[in-house]
């Protein structure tokens, strides 16, 4: 294998438009693209918002319910379990939901764009 020089980064990023982009340049194509972007953004915002609400609810819960942080499960204080362990499944679940739904949005876009 020989060494290849990387030049003109811009052309590496955006090669001459291919057939896929030509098909999307039409007005109808752009409508589909815009609606895909909107639905992906909405999905990301909803998941992020939901996650942040839960995240905010955790310390609130500890502050509002007195004695909760003194409760122990298996000798470990509840507030440590909540913040140190309990948040991670929430993160994982949000991520999993997002990946599934984002792929579904893209599949729908493929169907629409393919129907042109």
């Amino acid at each position: 294998m020989s060494r290849v020089r990387v030049t003109a980064p811009r052309s590496a990023v955006l090669p001459a438009r291919d057939s896929r982009e030509a098909a999307q340049d039409s007005e109808v194509g752009q409508v589909f693209v815009r609606s895909l972007i909107r639905s992906q953004l909405r999905l990301a915002l909803v998941v992020a918002g939901g996650f942040l609400l839960i995240l905010g609810a955790f310390p609130l819960l500890l502050a509002v319910v007195p004695g909760l942080s003194e409760t122990r499960i298996g000798g470990i204080p509840f507030d440590w379990l909540l913040l140190g362990v309990g948040i991670y499944p929430v993160i994982g679940l949000s991520a999993w939901l997002y990946v599934r739904t984002a792929a579904r949005n893209e599949a729908r876009y493929r169907d629409l764009a393919g129907d042109q």
């Binding site: 990387v6 980064p9 990023v13 896929r20 998941v47 440590w80 990946v99 764009a113 393919g114």
Partner: protein, 477 residues
């Protein structure tokens, strides 16, 4: 031992990675599990390995926000950045901003910011290495920093990104083992000895006041939005074959990080209860290294300590080499013209400059100083990425104005903080992200609106490329 293994894997990688494409993005042939382990290995730095546990020892549940933020930052990256950035086809963040905004000036400003972020982030790694060497061997501090820089330079120069991917994946599992085995041993030993039930972990071994709500929120803003702008994190996404696999990789990374962070938390809790004496000022970061010797002792304690030290060096080496690879990519393309030889020179430059910073500065708490780097990234790179990906109205002038504003505000707060000393610092200066990040976003949007005539002509095409799935027309017809 870690250094030897790293060098061997790097050398092995040298034989398969020979072309420039390999050097930059490992030819995009890396499998998701490898890639996810590599991302995890690269991301878990000195701050995660030593700093988090040390901070938990000092400040208890307040410090639990650090691992939560480090992990949730990846969630934000998945939601807003992972797939579009992969689809942009860019190698580096400056490549991305240049393509999106069709402007060389934006490219230069982004490069500057990225290099600054990378250097700032390498400094705490070197401080961690210095601390570890001083605590464990009694050698002078500089030996640790210099050793890390030399090993990283050799590995990166020898193998480029392809071998780095193998190295990093190995490092994740090494770090996990090195943290998990000693703490599990300690826990089983304590349980077996019939030690008294946990005494209140709310003991505050220092006289530090607990952080207020503002500081926790501001810290979370920095960690949530800082992660998606880290240069060494972004470059990994180019090694995925397409956007959807970039998402799947991120999902695996989230799992790996969640498992990893259980252990620093356990260290913090155990140390708070059974070894509060380790919470000495300026040395809490060494707690993970000292705990096995303190609680186990004897030959077993020595063995476990050796394991932890190996893991710690894995952390310094992996994060530093990840950063050096991505910085070298930026420097060699923008300053040196993009040849393999330039990449090697750039790698050495990227590693040696922060060594100078590390000698000139004092080690703060590791998790805290890394938190500040996240704040800086969140105020500069994050707005330009988020708006560039999701908002059609972003212009080159807006991007530059926003990055400069965020950089000056956050950088100013960091400098003011360094001059004033950590002890008597107002919370809004100690954790600036809560106001610098919105300020950067606001300036970016306002200036873009005012300069709407400068919208790049290629915008619609770039947005299409960022968001449409690969090969959309392959399945029909």
């Amino acid at each position: 031992m870690v250094s030897v293994a790293t060098a061997v894997i790097g050398f092995y990688g040298l034989r398969i990675s020979r072309t420039t494409g390999d050097f930059y993005v490992a030819s995009r042939t890396v499998r998701p599990w490898w890639n996810a382990s590599a991302i995890g290995g690269e991301y878990l730095s000195a701050a995660s390995f030593l700093g988090v546990a040390g901070l938990i020892l000092l400040s208890g549940t307040d410090a639990l926000w650090f691992p939560v933020g480090y992990t949730a930052g990846y969630l934000m990256l998945l939601l807003f950045v992972a797939a579009p950035l992969r689809r942009s086809g860019a190698y580096t963040i400056p490549d991305f901003t240049e393509a999106r905004l069709d402007s060389q000036v934006v490219r230069k400003v982004t490069s500057l910011v990225v290099v600054l972020v990378g250097w700032l982030y390498i400094v705490p790694q070197l401080h961690g290495a210095a601390l570890t060497i001083r605590i464990t061997t009694g050698l002078p501090s500089w030996v640790g920093s210099v050793a890390v820089v030399i090993v990283v330079c050799l590995t990166v120069v020898a193998g480029g990104m392809r071998s780095i991917t193998f190295v990093q994946a190995f490092q994740y599992w090494l770090k996990l083992t090195a943290l998990a085995v000693p703490i599990l041993f300690i826990i089983f030993m304590l349980a077996g000895n019939g030690t008294p039930a946990l005494s209140p972990p709310a003991v505050n071994p220092t006289s530090l006041a607990p952080a207020g709500a503002y500081q926790n929120v501001s810290l979370l803003v920095a960690l949530l939005f800082g992660t998606l702008g880290l240069p060494h994190v972004l470059v990994r996404f180019y090694t995925n074959p397409d956007g959807q696999s970039a998402r799947r990789t991120t999902l695996i990374v989230l799992g790996l990080l969640s498992v990893f962070y259980l252990f620093p938390t356990a260290y913090g809790l155990v140390a708070r209860v059974f070894a509060p004496g380790l919470a000495r000022a300026n040395q809490a970061d060494a707690m993970v290294l000292l705990l096995p010797g303190e609680l186990v002792g004897g030959a077993a304690g020595d063995l476990l300590s050796a394991l932890v030290v190996a893991g710690a060096f894995a952390a310094f080496l992996s994060t530093t080499s990840g950063l050096v690879v991505s910085l070298a990519g930026v420097i060699s393309q923008d300053v040196l013209g993009g040849e393999v030889g330039g990449f090697r020179l750039a790698a050495v430059i990227s590693a040696v400059v922060p060594l100078g910073f590390a000698f000139m500065t004092d080690s703060l708490a590791l998790a805290g100083s890394v938190g500040l780097v996240f704040a800086f990234t969140a105020s500069t790179v994050c707005p330009v990425l988020l708006l560039g990906i999701w908002w059609r109205g972003l212009t080159d002038a807006g991007a530059i104005a926003g990055m400069v504003t965020g950089g000056i505000l956050c950088g100013g707060a960091m400098i003011a903080g360094a001059l004033a000393g950590a002890a008597n610092l107002a919370p809004w200066l100690a954790q600036p992200a809560a106001w610098t990040v919105p300020a950067a976003f606001a300036v970016m949007v306002i200036v873009s609106r005012a300069t709407a005539h400068r919208l790049p002509k290629t915008m619609a095409r770039v947005m299409t490329r960022l968001h449409t799935p690969e090969r959309p027309l392959a399945t029909e017809r």
